[in-house]
């Protein structure tokens, strides 16, 4: 139910009663999406869409953080291994 997927804004227009609407592309599919809650999002931006309404924008910079954090904890584990302070990985197999 909380499924929301990222899509790219292709164009923005005024809908009924001035509602901020836009066409958003999800892979090969395009859909009309309400953009009222993402006033800052321009054409080309990626928005997170849930039941026809954009609930947030995708941060390009933060999108790489998941891989940055991985490098950080790998470095941490390597350091612990090197100092012999590591967990099970540092010891002989049980």
């Amino acid at each position: 139910m909380c499924l929301a997927i990222p899509g790219e804004i292709l164009e923005i227009h005024a809908g009924d009663h001035g509602l901020r609407m836009g066409t958003v592309r999800f892979g090969g599919a395009e859909r009309e999406v309400c953009l009222e809650y993402v006033p800052e999002a321009a054409v080309g931006a990626y928005v997170i869409v849930h039941v026809g309404v954009a609930i947030g924008t995708v941060s390009e910079e933060e999108a790489r953080e998941v891989f940055g954090y991985l490098e950080q904890i790998q470095a941490l584990a390597d350091r612990e291994d090197a100092t012999g302070a590591g967990g099970p990985a540092a010891g002989p197999p049980a």
Binding site: M1, L3, D16, V51, A63, V66, L70, L76, E80
Partner: protein, 367 residues
């Protein structure tokens, strides 16, 4: 698709699993709150790939599953009222009420229609002025902005034939209720990424501090989930209990402020009964009196008939993470997605449906 496929990368997932193995020194129990996360975990087998010290238990984050029987009965009674079109997300149609479900009501002549968005229900009300169009507004905070927009738009259009039957639930009070239970084994939460996209993380700091429990806001793809697990395990190993975000591409600490404003305009915080969990104070949204004209609960009389649960269904224990679906005697036998006894077998986010879809074959092979 951009911003989805990168986070399904097998090499990144393996690297995360190795890093988590190196981090963990003793047993930890984590609960993923959201049913969407449960489905990813079971689908990709993440629970079986993680080191044996880490136990993932499945949380109550399936709004369809926690909608109480009396509200399903209300929806059924409204749907059977002449001149009504009852609209709903597809997930709700098979959820059993006391004596029937919306799919059977439709077969018996009720006008029940599936919509993709509550805004589609508003458009239907505009196109069918002689009918009362009711939208069964089920969902967590993620869905509240769309439902608030539907009410605001119906108001701007001057519609008098549109209303919401609201079954909205809020996550933070449910976490408090789970933590208060003496049966609770949860040591850290993977919080729901899209709920926090809307609400931000502000409501979670008090929960983390009071119960000394790490809360890591987590996404839905396999690498996102492993990122959340890694951050939570690191907190546990280091003795910290903070609110952290492992889904920064979507979640800002302050959330989506315009969406929160619309929610606050249309809805007020009310107590809500959760299927299987009972009434939890301040755990729901209800329509504010200023928008009473759009509240189906006020528009349609309540028969007050008692709600009946299937005695064989252990959904309450599954939703609290106390039992796994396969520990239920009815699982896959008396209870299947085609003939469900309880909501977790119906919804695309229900834990029982996830195990039925992805684990039945494995269980059959093993047993």
């Amino acid at each position: 698709m951009k911003y989805l496929e990168e986070y399904r990368d097998g090499a990144a997932a393996q690297a995360y699993l190795a890093a988590i193995r190196a981090l963990v020194t003793r047993p930890w129990t984590l609960m993923e709150v959201c049913g969407g996360q449960t489905h990813s975990i079971v689908r990709y087998g993440l629970d079986e790939l993680l080191p044996p010290e880490i136990t993932l238990i499945h949380g109550p984050g399936c709004p369809v599953c926690v909608t109480p029987v009396h509200l399903i009965d209300r929806a059924l009674a409204i749907a059977m009222t002449p001149g009504v079109i009852l609209t709903s997300f597809g997930d709700m149609l098979r959820v059993p009420g006391s004596a029937s479900d919306l799919l059977r009501a439709r077969a018996a002549g009720a006008d029940v229609r599936i919509v993709y968005s509550p805004l589609d229900a508003v458009a239907l009300a505009e196109a069918e002025p002689a009918k009362q169009v009711v939208f069964f507004a089920v969902g967590f905070e993620t869905t509240a902005p769309a439902n608030a927009m539907a009410v605001l738009l119906a108001g701007r259009k001057g519609l008098t034939n549109f209303s919401l039957l609201v079954a909205h639930v809020r996550v933070p009070p449910a976490l408090e209720a789970l933590l208060a239970s003496p049966l609770c084994r949860v040591q850290a939460f993977l919080a729901a990424g899209h709920v926090c996209t809307v609400m931000g993380t502000g409501e979670y700091h008090a929960v983390a501090a009071k119960h000394r429990v790490p809360i890591v806001v987590t996404g839905f793809e396999p690498v996102d989930i492993l990122h959340g697990v890694a951050m939570a395990v690191r907190q546990l190993e280091e003795g910290r209990h903070e609110v952290e975000i492992a889904y920064g591409r979507s979640v800002r600490p302050e959330g989506n402020v315009p969406a929160q404003r619309a929610i606050a305009e249309v809805f007020e915080i009310v107590p809500r009964t959760w299927r299987g969990l009972g009434e939890i104070p301040a755990s729901g949204f209800g329509v504010r009196p200023a928008f009473a004209a759009f509240d189906a609960d006020r528009r349609f009389p309540d028969s007050g008939a008692p709600a009946l649960e299937s005695p064989a269904c252990i959904a309450g224990l599954v939703l609290q993470g106390i039992k796994k679906p396969r520990e239920c005697g009815a699982f896959g036998d008396a209870c299947t997605p085609e003939h469900p006894l309880g909501a977790p077998m119906v919804s695309s986010e229900g834990a029982c449906a996830a195990y039925y879809l992805y684990r039945r074959r494995a269980a059959a092979a093993a047993g």
